[in-house]
Amino acid sequence: MLSVVVRRWAAWTPGLERLDDWERWCRVPTALGAEGAPALPFLPPLFRRRCSRLSRLMLHAAYAACEPDDVSALPAVFASRFGELGLTVSLLESLARKEPLTASGFTHSVHNTQIGLFSIAAKNRRMASALAAGAETFPYAVIEALASIERAGGGPALVVIGDEPLPAALEAFEGDGIAYALALVIARAGDGPRVRFAPAAAAEIPAEPRWPQALEFLRWLLSDEPSITLGASGRGFTWTRA
């Protein structure tokens, strides 16, 4: 049984930007959008121009979840199931047409694009991980954040989960179909709700979660429900309020 304290959180999806938007959505969930991106007004224009939509989503949530001094100070885990698949597919299409790749396109297609941009923008020189784990990306991002806290010798860590709809060429495959990011500042102790989680038996795992696991988790965190089981393909975790 693992336990974490959620010190702070922030999330962004089109139309739901502030904490009270999310509190309202968590009471009465409505359809989520796929279009749009946060503006990142706190970053220089030249820097913003290099940020893809996924980068904007994840950097916005990261900054919104952190106290001002924390953006440069916390070890961070940025997690995405698909990462920059849209850009990657466009690079692969260029290759198929025998067109040269641009250095900038290649550099910003890697899975650690967002954590790299975040570390530069925030002048954060701590350890930083970029993670992917298929449909189980959310719980393993939290576990890697706990592993980062272990490596850092304690203190809080920032964990950001974000994804966007699959590019047109891959739309036949399973995806969430929405653009979102959730950022959590978690720690082993301190102020905030304490959450325990443990692997769930296959029979307890609901067949089709309605929202991405990260947003199901947020909806549960803001609710009065004592526990929630989230997972996919017979694997998952039960999250319980301590």
């Binding site: 199931r81 698949l85 990657t88 597919v89 047409r97 040269p100 250095a103 694009t113 790299g116 495959f173």
Partner: protein
């Protein structure tokens, strides 16, 4: 798997490419015919796919995730695996990395003007860039005593640039110092350092400065990339694997060192380092410590430290 049970076996792998080679074929097929290659599945391109595949192959049912931080991916996977054991989230971890050659990385590094037109020549005044490789390496990590131990890991970010390292090597230096501190090892106790040593002008310059600041010019060091190429997201595990093999060849107080293959013409603009000659052995009587560096673009740095007891 039989000893601890599949629920207590984790899989943590590093990759930068995942199945980009398969996706290249699938996308080209799409442009040619209007449909993706029928055998292609998106999970092949997902970075998480590598670890899902390995977990399915081995039957492991513990935590399973991929870390992808460019060329430090596999080193980070090993650092994370060690933390999972410390947190008692598992009793064994399969950890390492894999990357395959593909058009995406070949053309991408070409666009970055990072690829040499001859075999890489790290730290030479004549160095022109890296040589791409492909490969995989995996370790089985447990809490058991004895054998070769992963005793330290250090990680840090440059916070500098998306494709160029910070010129003074501050992030690299922080990662190496953190690994030494984590292991409780003084710089003078280290027997050998496996350099990241890509052969690009920028990496070798900043790494020379960072290494010299900590160890001076006397530590025996080499880059093994001229032997197998730069295996990118797998390199942290492949090169730690070379260090592991080296430690298993320690006999009669002599540790055979991994050679630095180059033209022997040091860059006078860089602090001088002691590069291992072919066939060189080091007298090591007591515990042996060796370190391996991995630096990913995006400014993601990781150093790992192995320890071994003298062979009986």
């Amino acid at each position: 798997m039989d000893v601890v049970g599949p629920e207590r076996v984790a899989v943590v792998m590093g990759t930068s490419t995942s199945g980009a080679a398969e996706a290249e074929y699938a996308i080209a097929h799409d442009l040619r015919t209007g449909a993706l290659a029928p055998e292609f599945d998106c999970v092949q391109l997902e970075h998480g796919g590598l670890t899902q595949f390995l977990a399915a192959c081995t039957g492991a049912r513990g935590p399973a995730y991929t870390l992808s931080t460019a060329c430090s991916s596999a080193a980070k996977a090993l650092a994370s695996a060690r933390a999972l054991l410390a947190l008692d989230l598992c009793d064994a971890v399969v950890a390492g990395g894999a990357d395959s050659l593909c058009g995406l990385t070949a053309n991408g590094f070409h666009a970055l003007q990072a690829i040499a037109d001859e075999p890489s020549n790290p730290f030479s005044v004549n160095r022109k860039g890296l040589t791409l490789g492909e490969g995989a390496a995996a370790f089985l990590l447990t809490r058991d005593a004895g054998g070769i131990q992963l005793v330290g890991a250090g990680e840090a970010s440059d916070a500098f640039h998306m494709s160029a390292p910070e010129p003074e090597g501050t992030g690299a230096e922080t990662a190496m110092r953190a690994a030494l501190e984590d292991a409780g090892v003084a710089p003078g106790e280290l027997s050998y350092l496996n350099l990241h040593g890509t052969g690009t002008p920028l990496n070798d310059a900043m790494e020379s400065r960072a290494v010299h600041k900590i160890f001076g010019g006397d530590i025996a060091c080499s880059s093994t990339k001229p032997l197998v190429g730069h295996t990118l997201g797998a390199s942290g595990a492949v090169e730690l694997g070379f260090c592991w093999v080296m430690l298993t060849r320690w006999r009669d107080g002599l540790l055979p060192l991994l050679p630095h293959r180059w033209d022997g013409l040091a860059d006078p603009a860089l602090p001088s380092l002691r590069f291992v000659r072919v066939g060189e052995q080091l007298k090591v009587a007591t515990r042996a410590f060796v370190m391996s560096n991995s630096f990913g673009f995006g400014g993601n740095n990781c150093a790992l430290l192995l320890a071994a007891e003298p062979p009986c």
